[in-house]
């Protein structure tokens, strides 16, 4: 039984979500092959070869894969994966973009965002914004699955010594092309990989006030997130959104500042180990899930918190 894991990477480095995806593959059991498809992606492939538990790394180095265009990458994955028992990818924006296209090319159903492996063919996944958990069983010849990173503890990034094998892929499908990207530049950790996340909600009142959170985050080595209300109000960009329609996080410590605690937000952070809520409304639903609640004006509490930590 061979499990093909699609690496999430930046060509020069392996993204942390890949390690959680490999952890899910280990729970299923089988030879784990990792595909690194990219352009000048040798460094990412070397990093993948060092990951504990990986049997083989397949490298498809081709300009057509530089920006992970699904029209080019999906046929490669389908070709490499058709003899495998499972194809796994992290449920990142990239994994979600490519993998359903792979499943359709293989004429099989896909199982999205699993949070646990019950057996090689049975998995749990959240539905209805995390308000219910479904246990699903697949009889497909190839089980195509996206993995929610927060459901699995990452495997060690070091300790393996897998063989690296080059594979040739098809050329550019000629259906799409990359035009450009605007990626937020930040020295803070990535939201889904951070050990501490501090999020602001509508209570922040405007985008400038998020500086309070950035200052605190820099002191704690934390990432900064936001509720959908704060994003919809235009305070901060959408890629900071924590919730069912944004990022799903499960850090050691989650600090919710000026967030009321709508169901949609809770779905994105309720698996955090410790939750702190700071809100001046003592009736806010966020206090029902918080381990430590502080009823206070955030504009006084956050600066004070920053001086005390």
């Amino acid at each position: 039984m061979t499990i093909l894991v699609i690496a999430e990477h930046t060509n020069s480095a392996l993204a942390p979500a890949t390690l959680n995806t490999i952890a899910a593959a280990q729970k299923i059991g089988g030879d784990i092959h990792v595909l690194v498809a990219g352009a000048a992606c040798g460094a990412a492939a070397e990093a993948a070869a060092k990951v504990a538990g990986v049997a083989k790394v397949l490298v498809a180095d081709n300009a057509a894969y530089a920006h992970q265009l699904p029209e080019n990458v999906a046929p490669l994955v389908a070709e490499l994966g058709k003899g495998c028992s499972h194809i796994l990818a992290a449920a990142t924006s990239n994994g979600k973009n490519i993998l359903p296209r792979v499943a359709a090319l293989l004429d099989v159903d896909q199982i999205s965002e699993i949070i646990s492996v019950e057996s090689a063919d049975t998995f749990k996944r959240p539905i209805y914004a995390g308000n219910a958990i479904a246990t699903v069983q697949s009889s497909a010849a190839v089980k195509v699955i996206t993995v929610r990173a927060t459901g699995f503890d990452a495997v060690a990034a070091e300790g393996g010594s897998a063989a690296v094998e080059a594979v040739s892929g098809s050329a550019d499908a000629g259906k799409s092309s990359f035009v450009g990207e605007e990626l937020a530049k930040s020295d803070r950790p990535e939201l889904t990989a951070a050990k501490i996340v501090i999020s602001g909600g509508r209570g922040m009142q405007n985008g400038d006030n998020f500086k309070l959170l950035y200052t605190l985050a820099d002191k704690l080595g934390a990432a900064v997130g936001a509720s959908r209300a704060a994003v919809d109000a235009g305070f901060v960009p959408n890629d900071m959104q924590v919730g069912q329609t944004g990022k799903i996080v499960a850090p050691q410590l989650y600090v919710a500042v000026g967030i009321s605690g709508a169901i949609q937000h809770l779905a994105g952070m309720k698996d955090s180990k410790v939750i702190v809520a700071i809100n001046k409304d003592e009736e806010a639903p966020i206090f029902q899930v918080a381990d430590y609640g502080l009823v206070a004006d955030l504009f006084e509490a956050v600066p004070e918190l920053e001086t005390l930590v």
């Binding site: 159903d109 697949s138 000629g174 990207e181 959908r228 890629d239 609640g293």
Partner: protein, 249 residues
């Protein structure tokens, strides 16, 4: 240019769903049903393309029970020109839905197909990508901006860490993200007019599509509940607890 929009009837986003006592699913008896929010954004985008003179006709399609005609009428009231219901009482998986949509695409030959990125019931986020694969078209998922230019469409996508823009050859598939637009409300005169717009009902059999699935839902459970903790009186007490009790900072 003809635009096809796919919409799904789902539980209204304001409803707090409950798991059935026998763990066979969630209780949908007597709950309010609506058009999936991401599908509303898809309809709105198509209507805006028509208002700009880019789209000439908007066809809206839904795969679902007979009652999904309500959501199709809503889409017609918002500005779609005609509707197709592929009627199926069974709950279909994304691959089956994508195959049915492919059959509709073959028949209608749209230049652009717009879908929501995911439905808020099954949360799969698959159908648009699968339809793109089956049709052999390019895909622009999680769109926050859509611009048709000649024989291409430029789609700006919400990706982890920011935005990415891709140029897709037409015909193409686009799936909507939240910030693409803010859907309008249907006016009463438009709701009345929508009742007279054409709505065709077909069956999966008539489209020649088999809808069997390899997936079986064994059970549906409520998630583990998280209990409320304590209220602290001051920032100093909070820091003390985080350092000494929770040991997370």
């Amino acid at each position: 240019m003809k635009v096809l929009v796919a919409v799904k009837r789902v539980v209204d986003y304001n409803v707090k769903v409950r798991v059935k006592a026998d763990n066979s699913g969630v209780d949908l008896a007597n709950v309010k049903m609506s058009m999936n929010p991401f599908c509303e954004i898809a309809v709105e985008e198509a209507v805006r393309l028509k208002e700009k003179g880019v789209a000439t006709e908007i066809v809206v399609v839904s795969i679902g029970p007979a009652t999904a005609q309500e959501q199709l009428r809503t889409a017609l009231a918002l500005g779609a020109d005609r509707a197709i219901l592929v009627e199926s009482a069974d709950e279909l998986n994304s691959l089956a839905v994508a195959k049915l949509l492919k059959a509709v695409v073959d028949k209608e030959q749209p230049q652009l197909v717009i879908l929501g990125k995911q439905s808020i019931d099954s949360d799969n986020n698959q159908t648009g990508q699968m339809l793109a694969a089956l049709s052999g078209y390019a895909q622009g998922t999680f769109a926050s901006k859509v611009e048709v230019a000649g024989d291409k469409v430029n789609v700006t996508r919400e990706v982890d860490g920011g935005l990415q823009t891709v140029a897709l050859n037409l015909p193409a598939i686009v799936t909507t993200d939240l910030r693409l637009n803010e859907p309008r409300y249907a006016s009463l005169p438009n709701i009345m007019k929508a009742k007279k717009k054409p709505l065709e009902v077909v069956t999966p059999d008539a489209l020649g599509v088999a809808t069997a699935s390899t997936l079986k839902t064994l059970k549906v459970e409520a998630p583990a509940a998280r209990s409320a903790g304590i209220k602290v009186k001051s920032v100093a007490e909070l820091v003390e607890k985080l350092k000494n009790e929770a040991k997370v900072i």
